[in-house]
Symmetry: D2
Subunit: 344 residues, 4 copies
């Protein structure tokens, strides 16, 4: 018996279909297409070889070199559900043959943006150290516990990187009436201005802002671009939030600055994860520590399925996808591959 | 030599003029009026008696029974700079004689609102316990550290009390797209709706919301109105934030519920402050502890001066004050006097 | 048979109860109080004299000199439903005796604000003259019909007067990203800043703005304060909108300026209404004419009842009113009485 | 002497470079590339043939069949400055060879969105007919002139089409607190919901809304999809705004409905432009007529240059363009070519 339904090769490791689809969305996907799924680790080679020739879509991070792609005549799209682009696909072949390559990274934008605002308020109001002090019987009441703390309202905010994360964050800070400067060398100024932000250089953002949010991706070119010299431009008492990737900053210099009381910081990412048990970062005052937790929330994973379902539905109607992030010929090779889970 | 300038009796204890005015605002006030100030504790009786007959304004919490007020023929306004109304003034005399009585409480609204949002995000994302865990070498990475946590985006929010605090808070949560229910028996429904909120009963707010913010003042009538029965209506996993006064809730019942894991909470206020060293509240998991720190920020105090300066300026031009909170004949006697500093 | 219900003397001429209350709201009011109403013109003197001694509330513009008020021992509030304060009440007696005097003017704020934005966009895009041209067969297509027209987005906006009207208008223009300057000598600067506007002098507002909205009330002091000299500060091509009262501007000078092509304008108010049939204002190009229609919409009248019902409900619970506008001792005598219907 | 600068073939007819670039932006473009421009009508064939082999970019609507494209080995992008995609390019060749094809249509989104809001307010408040009446001496004052008119605040709004126009419009209506339904069969529901709108069917949008905005593009498939049957679903007294293309609606049926007083309307587009002198549409009451003027504003044209400059700058840095609208393989052939100026 033959089905006319398009075939989806589903190889979502390290996710599973149940993690990324609600039951209703998965049913909807199965109504659109025959989903051949392998959830227990990466799909075996022979299974890939068998399904790929029939597949219209790949969901997952399957290796897709040119030889394989040439055996996939029906393939219309490859959707990475880690939220990044790996260097295991022949992108050039895909671009030349109208195979869309996309990822579901945008689902984490709101999750990270809320975390960023929460961490900024927590640091600037001393929530975590005050809670620790209270638990240890050394809390300070009222003004005594608030020396040097300030409002977010009206404070200059700086964003470093203005992709999905920065754009999800921008509206959250709007009711605080903060002037927002943005440093993003990948964007023309009119895009930044269209989001009610002011384009600025990196040094300007660092030296002007009371709250600095690092939302930049890591590329082959920008590792460590926020070095010690740049960090020393930050105002005393400012709050520095490292939300995207540890590699964009000189992490040791950042920790030094915080340990010396130059500014306060919060970080969700570390150069090596897990952090070593005796890493001195664990003892730094003025630092809010978060173990790569900004993105990985259950409800965010379900939005992955929503994007995938929506875009496959559109493509099957002869329409372009709109939810997932597309690989771009100019940049896909520059993005550093993820070593761990690709959340960021 | 005689000055025609109006006289201000300034008795700001437990504040000082330097705390509540920026130097520029204090200069501006002195250009408008002769400020006779006593900063070292409450103004002595004889000094009050000497100045009051000449005074057009009182800044502070000076006792003003009828006998005194009758000796103050020029008095136009009394401005409490604690942010409350004490029962040491003959309000009826003031109302009958066109003496405005006001306080500067509105300055704390933004400060508390930002703290409330920060605490809500901190609790719902586990920021303080995760930081503690990290410091103790037992942090959990990524999804392992996020079980059961959720976004604020789209979550039902409930506000209990919709005065200055609730109204300062409402816009901060707007970009999260949350439906907001409000319980406030002191307001007609049209006022609540005009702020893009839905009027609701107390039980409805408690049982529907993922985030519940208590912003209600304490009156003679509403002590403990959020009792154990009401607290047990709260959804598992919800976040409860006690921002205004401990007395509006059955505090022990609230702590029990959190200790049992029914819901999470944050509190900035306690039935007795300072909290006893051995109070078990210090050990409760799922509770974010803050030592009455939501309001008392330096920059908020300076806004007090801004309100006072603005309103005295208006009154001297023959205009009504607009910045300070006015005593209302209907309610001034109901508001519970503060025992400590009156921040809330 | 005796009712314990409080009595409302209702004398709403030139309104009627059916105009200002929805049926449901009127029922709700009657559940709270015994409403003794006279709809056919002003309530006769003897009827007033009979009801007033029992009345807790007056709805309407009834004459209330001291002699009458002294015969009204239960009176708690007088609510004018024209939306203004007349000089036919002994305000001083009311203030001294805790009788609240209020009006329902705030209901027109949204109505006028929407009209103001509509008129601004209509003038700046030439909607009315283009429609006339089209009807007369002389329309110009595309760019030919748009010479000199511009966007509101990012344009400097100036507000003259920042009471209820200005505050209802401010959010409507927020998504256009306009810097907004406000001239209002009745307000301290911090109030203006709190609404994301910049305080400015009258000349500054006139000379800087592409869109100028006049929302100022008329008082004994400010008639004609926008004179010819001030009008000549307006930029060529700017749009001037007279929304509140004709008397605040030198109306003839304004018409001259528009007729000479200095700037464009819209006006909803005129020095004498109805305007004389041969008044040359009817022929001025670049002027959008509206016959005092900004406020008087059915649904706005129903909101009057909502305010009245809400505030009477609060007062009967021992709470202060919050919806209606209160008379202020400092200013009530300054507000110019309305000659016509008091809408503004 | 040889320049290493990339070459731009500029053939912007019916625009000119001076129309679409500010002097500063044109200078900036010339600093990046050698611009070979032909402004006096379409670039002659032989000039195209000469320049194309050297060109990295084409600005304009030059015919580019495969034979030509094959002679353009350096070509990286073709940017249409009419704001549409014509069927005079071999898109397939472009997609297969990494030549980006884009248009500058997004620049008109804000311009049309403001016009749409202005027309909606103008129609719903009767601004144009009231102005005409005033000029003819038959104006009606206050309530007499407002029968049946209503507020936008809280009114159900329906958007048909949610591309650039709809998304530029959505924020403008946000402060009015309207529930917004969107019909757009090209979008998954999550995209619509992410803009705080509710996805809905066409009939639902038409029958539920007080304000209906048509922002849909014309494709080969959707001509006349809003037919008489659909139009008759519209509520009495609603306001219907045709902002995008006349061909999406049964125009005669729309005019009939308005002439019969079923609903009010405004239209910026007509099946044939210019409209015939004796077309009865010119006399219809309840209709606001605009001669294809929603987009063509000077400042919008300058934004074209801003997009072009920004995107060429990015591509020269090895980055993907972000400002212009990209042709999509799935849809580029479906978009109906423009007969006139391509503004919409």
């Amino acid at each position: 018996m033959v089905s006319d339904k398009p075939v989806i090769l589903s190889d979502p490791d390290p996710r599973t279909l149940d993690l990324i689809f609600t039951p209703a969305d998965l049913d909807a996907l199965k109504a659109l297409a025959t989903v051949i799924n392998h959830d227990a680790g990466r799909m075996p080679e022979d299974m890939v070889e068998e399904i790929l020739p029939k597949a219209s879509f790949v969901i997952g991070q399957t290796d897709l070199p040119r030889e394989r792609l040439e055996r996939a005549p029906h393939l219309r799209a490859i959707i990475n559900v880690e939220g990044n682009f790996r260097q295991n696909i022949d992108y050039d072949h895909c671009f030349r043959n109208g195979i869309r390559v996309m990822h579901t990274g945008p689902v984490f934008a709101q999750t990270v943006a809320e975390m960023a605002l929460g961490m900024a308020l927590a640091v600037s109001r001393g929530l975590a150290p005050a809670d620790r002090a209270f638990r240890e019987g050394r809390e300070l009441y009222q003004m005594d516990g608030n020396h040097g703390l300030g409002l977010m309202q009206g404070s200059p905010v700086g964003l470093i990187g203005f992709g999905d994360l920065g754009r999800a964050f921008r509206p959250l800070v709007a009711p605080f009436g903060c002037p927002v400067q943005v440093y993003d060398p990948w964007l023309p100024e009119h895009v930044i201005r269209a989001h009610d932000c002011t384009p600025a250089g990196l040094e300007e953002v660092l030296s002007n802002s009371r709250f600095i949010f690092v939302f930049a991706s890591v590329t082959a070119d920008n590792q460590g671009f926020i070095g010690r010299r740049e960090l020393e431009l930050i105002q005393p008492g400012a709050t520095f939030l490292l939300m995207s990737r540890a590699a964009v900053v000189d992490f040791d210099a950042m920790i030094d600055c915080v340990a010396q009381g130059r500014f306060q910081a919060a970080t969700d990412v570390f150069p090596d994860e897990p952090v070593a048990p005796d890493d001195p970062v664990r003892k730094v005052e003025g630092l809010l520590l978060s173990a790569h937790r900004a993105g990985a929330i259950d409800t965010a994973f379900w939005k992955m399925g929503e994007l995938v379902l929506g875009d496959i539905g559109l493509m099957l109607k002869g329409l372009p996808p709109v939810g997932c992030k597309r690989a771009e010929p100019e940049t896909v090779a520059r993005m550093r591959s993820m070593t761990s889970d690709g959340l960021k």
